[in-house]
């Protein structure tokens, strides 16, 4: 198996990277018909597997689960999840041969083993559905030519996929058909029907490609989503401790601050988030985020380049082969940081206080979102795809930090994201060392407005607002957010 993307001629690379179509709701008028009466078999029953299955069944589709023999015999959690909700559960041999659609919702790392095991059992003309393109694109998995290969990727954690569905809505979803495997031309119709079955069609669906999904997803998760949030959180906490801010307060500010700040990002984009600051603080946050962008740009570009060339996945797969040596060491080190080990203090921090006392994080988020978006677009990824993988997902990841800090974030995200996150974090911290020496508690830990008279130069402020609002991530974002305005707000502590 070799990297699929690297086997393509440049023309085809650009072609596939450029698949990006925000679909009109009229495209979904056929409902679940393309899957009605078909036998859907889901491989794996974790959070995504279970919740997607519950939705599909409630949409009138026929759903069963297949698990490895050991999981069934050992009555593991996945077996319990499925049986306690009255789904049929069987081994690969029992269920795969009769399946019309096999849905692979196992972790990336297991894809090669799982697909190799199920493919010979799949019937002629069946469909194989992924929710992530890594196996096809980076590992170059070859799928039998009679099989249709599609992707449906809800852009939210599994629990949200269910919660939004029963509320009568859904979560934004990305779909794709693999051009090498669409022998009957039915891939798109089935992917759309699957979307309707999980409720995704009500919240905005982006038609993408396996290639565009992987190359943008990897970039987003390594840089702004996980990497920078981790770096920013650790540096902010350490700075506050260095400057004598109460450790409990510092821990709480960092743990919940990123969630509160990115909640504003979710509703109003980068400019909406920056507007939560006073004028003086906004000017300052703008200035330092410009500086941050300049410092971090080469690192963002290196990550994107390594993702495009396949270098990133090659080194990560080497680590898989070495029994996750690097990953486990990095994970252990993250668990030992002072931020992770200091419990959040029993202090009340008001919603606005998170902005006023954590201006540094606002600057980090702006710099990271814009940089990730710009770097992706420069590499040939379409703005809509880049938006999903940068700004859109940031609040979702921030939510995991609010729950149980960085350890929880790294536990919840995919194995590829976790690996990339550490890689970024270790390269980024030294880059920011100089910058951080200039940071004081007015930017992190204390109210930025304290002791300032609040006056700003009109022309400066207008220029800053203009720069923020005319950025492409804002233009694209405003349009996409309109389609998903009703997304339930993430609750804050």
């Amino acid at each position: 198996m070799s990297n699929y993307f690297n086997t393509l001629p440049l023309r085809e690379k650009l072609n596939q990277l450029g698949v990006c179509d925000f679909m009109d709701s009229s495209e979904f008028l056929d409902g679940v018909n393309a899957l009605k009466g078909k036998k859907l078999v889901i491989v794996g029953c974790g959070a995504q597997g279970l919740n997607q299955g519950l939705n599909l069944r409630d949409s009138g589709l026929n759903v069963a689960y297949t698990l490895r023999k050991e999981a069934i015999e050992g009555k593991r959690d996945s077996w319990k999840n499925a049986t306690e909700n009255n789904f049929t559960v069987g081994t690969y041999e029992e269920l795969i041969p009769t399946a019309d659609v096999v849905i692979n919702l196992t972790p990336d790392k297991q894809h090669t083993a799982v697909v190799t095991a199920i493919m010979p059992l799949m019937k002629q003309g069946a469909t194989l559905l992924y929710s992530h393109g890594f196996n096809i694109v980076e590992e170059g998995m070859q799928i039998r030519k009679d099989i249709t290969v599609i992707m449906v990727a809800p852009k939210c954690p599994g629990s949200e996929v269910r919660a939004e569905y029963v509320r009568g809505f859904g979560v934004p979803t990305l779909i794709a058909v693999h051009p090498e495997n669409d022998p009957e031309g039915k891939g798109l119709a089935q992917a759309k029907a699957y979307c309707v079955g999980t409720g995704g069609h009500r919240a905005g669906v982006l038609k993408s490609s396996f290639v565009a999904e992987v190359k943008s997803d990897l970039m987003g998760e390594q840089t702004i989503l996980c990497g920078l949030l981790q770096t920013g959180s650790i540096l902010s906490f350490d700075k506050m401790i260095e400057k004598g801010i109460d450790a409990g307060y510092a821990s709480k500010l960092v743990q919940y601050g990123v969630e509160v700040i990115t909640e504003a990002l979710k509703h109003g984009g980068v400019s909406g988030m920056m507007d939560r600051l006073s004028n003086v603080a906004k000017v300052k946050a703008f200035e330092i985020s410009e500086e941050l962008k300049d410092i971090m740009r080469p690192l963002f570009q290196k990550h994107q380049d390594d993702i495009m060339s396949g270098e990133f996945s090659r080194t990560m797969m080497e680590d898989w082969a070495a029994g996750d040596k690097n990953l486990l060491a990095w994970r252990a080190a993250t668990g030992e940081t002072a931020f992770e080990k200091t419990p959040a203090g029993d202090v009340k921090i008001g919603e606005q206080e998170y902005f006023d006392n954590y201006t540094l994080m606002v600057a980090f988020v702006r710099a990271g979102v814009e940089l990730a978006f710009e770097t992706m677009v420069q590499a040939g990824i379409k703005p809509e795809s880049a938006y999903y993988e940068s700004l859109h997902e940031t609040p979702l990841i921030a939510n995991t930090i609010a729950r149980k800090k960085l350890f929880e974030m790294n536990r919840v995200i995919s194995d590829t994201a976790e690996y990339g996150c550490y890689l970024f974090d270790y390269a980024c911290k030294p880059l920011l060392a100089d910058f951080m020496t200039k940071v004081d508690t007015d930017l992190v830990g204390k109210n930025f407005n304290e002791g300032k008279d609040g006056s700003v130069d009109n022309r400066t402020l207008i220029a800053i607002n203009e720069a923020l609002r005319s950025h492409e991530v804002e233009i694209v974002g405003a349009r996409l957010r309109k389609a998903m305005t009703a997304m339930k707000s993430i609750k804050t502590a």
């Binding site: 949409s59 029963v166 009568g168 339930k488 609750k491």
Partner: protein, 489 residues
């Protein structure tokens, strides 16, 4: 005479920007136990919260605790609504979650909740068992918070308060969701704690009160007005003369099936615990049923099956609207034909939707509105808003309204599509007498159009007149099914 326990002078309070309490004066002396009754939205809850110092403390509320008493010197407020969070501190729940086995372990158990409450107030854990037993709550000790029904949530709040025995106890709608027996037991327990020195303020419109209640008041135009027990009769309520919107008098379409529900030996269990046992029940189109049963008898689980909200429906022999569940229908096709209100629906409803959005969302069976409903649905909604007297709250967010008004909006949502099956699970919780009477009249009116009705209510007085059949659940089993004579209700 000793100094009064509570002395309120010229209290002014706003709810959002509207004044609700205006120069209110109130003196509560020792050995007095008050009932605060009256219309929804008159300011009862705002007053209670102010007295308990929730959100803000007021210098014109003076509370003099008895230094000689061994009871905690505090004014403890039991809210009309039970709020809880999951173990991660979130309260982002959806109401079907309690039926999903794997989602129930994310909230604390009753036992853990009580232990942490006991620790906070330095209470002896042994004393709580007696209160638990008296309210029939002992078995639920190992249940998690999300598994409890609304009546059980109410009981948990009461258990805490009765265990704490504060010097001043303010109970806001304490009878909501409680069955007849539990209400009796509650009254006995309240008598008991009042004898040992707890003074009570009850906010309620119920008829059956503990005997220790010796003073009664309402709030009228922002001021406290004391009334006598006789003045609490509600014979003088006039029926609303507003005509029922015409779109609600249209006959409901149920040509597809004369049979609405058919359950054959339906069983629901969570691990070892069986909550429904061999349920057999048939409901034909146009029938009007009342569903009775104690708290925890399985009523809400039974209703969740009918509304397409229970995953175990797929493992049972169960027909809805003539189709077997799991034969290719979607839950949205089922919900389209049902108008539902329940305490759970209210509890989990999107609080950030406006009244108008909440009502229109009834056309889509969603919690909150996600699309443009178009002219005819908008027009029907406006008509209904006017009928329910909610015009001035049309664009107000649900969480900015008192409970009674929120409930009215959700009742409008329930009927807005003139559904063929109405499921009204304690629909009038939180409403005052007049609103209850009006709503029941409306239900009677709707039922003339061939609507099928399933009604749950612990309060005989609140049940509409059109009911003709009764099913009684006990411990998850059908205890009896009977046809009622008109004179019974």
């Amino acid at each position: 005479m000793s100094q009064p326990v509570v002395h309120i002078t010229k209290l002014n309070l706003k709810y959002r920007h509207k004044p609700v309490l205006m120069d209110l004066n109130w003196t509560i002396n020792r050995n007095e136990n008050w009932l605060l009754c009256g219309t929804s939205g008159s300011g009862k809850t705002s007053l209670a919260k102010a007295m308990a110092g929730i959100g803000h403390s007021y210098s014109n509320i003076e509370i003099n605790f008895n230094p000689q008493s061994s009871l905690p010197a505090m004014a403890y407020y039991v809210a009309n609504w039970f709020q809880f969070k999951d173990l991660e501190g979130q309260s982002n729940f959806y109401y079907q979650q309690r039926y999903n086995k794997q989602s129930t372990e994310t909230t604390a158990t009753v036992k853990a909740e009580l232990e942490s409450f006991g620790k906070k107030h330095s209470l002896s854990i042994h004393e709580v068992d007696r209160v638990l037993a008296a309210l029939g709550f002992s078995e639920l000790k190992y249940s998690t918070l999300i598994q409890l029904s609304s009546g059980e949530h109410k009981k948990l709040q009461l258990v805490k308060a009765l265990w704490l025995k504060p010097q001043l106890l303010i109970l806001d709608l304490p009878y909501n969701g409680l069955d007849v027996l539990s209400r009796k037991n509650l009254n006995a327990l309240l008598e008991e704690i009042s004898e040992v020195g707890t003074q009570l303020i009850l906010i309620s419109n119920e008829a059956e009160l503990p005997g220790c209640i010796n003073r009664i008041a309402t709030i009228e135009e922002g001021k406290l007005v004391e009334i006598s027990g006789d003045e609490r009769t509600w014979n003088d309520i006039e029926a609303s003369d507003k005509p029922v919107p015409t779109f609600l008098s249209e006959s409901v379409v149920n040509a597809s099936s004369a049979e609405i529900i058919r359950m054959i030996n339906v069983n629901i269990s969570y691990g070892e615990k069986q909550v429904l046992k061999n349920i057999n029940w048939e409901v034909k189109a146009g029938e009007k049923w009342v569903l009775h049963g104690h708290n925890g008898s399985g009523k809400s689980t039974l209703l969740s099956l009918i509304c397409g909200d229970h995953p175990q429906a797929y493992a049972n022999d169960f027909h809805l609207f003539g189709n077997k569940r799991g034969s290719g229908e979607s839950i949205w096709e089922i919900k389209e034909r049902i108008g539902l209100i329940s305490p759970e629906l209210h509890w989990y409803f999107d609080p950030s939707a406006t009244v108008w959005q909440s009502i229109v969302s009834g056309f889509y069976d969603s919690s909150g509105l996600f699309c443009d409903p178009g002219y005819s649905k908008k027009a029907k909604t406006d008509e209904l808003i006017h009928y329910f007297g909610l015009d001035e709250y049309k664009n107000t967010l649900m969480n900015e309204l008192p409970l009674g008004k929120q409930r009215l909006a959700l009742l409008a949502r329930t009927i807005v599509k003139n559904p063929e099956l109405l499921i009204l699970d304690e629909p009038c919780q939180g409403l005052d007498q007049q609103q209850t009477l009006h709503f029941n009249k409306l239900v009677d009116e709707l039922c003339k159009n061939g609507t099928t009705l399933i009604y749950v209510g612990h309060f005989e007085s609140q049940i509409p007149g059109c009911i003709e059949k009764r099913i009684l659940l006990e411990n998850g089993e059908v205890k009896s099914v009977e046809t009622l004579l008109e004179s019974v209700l």
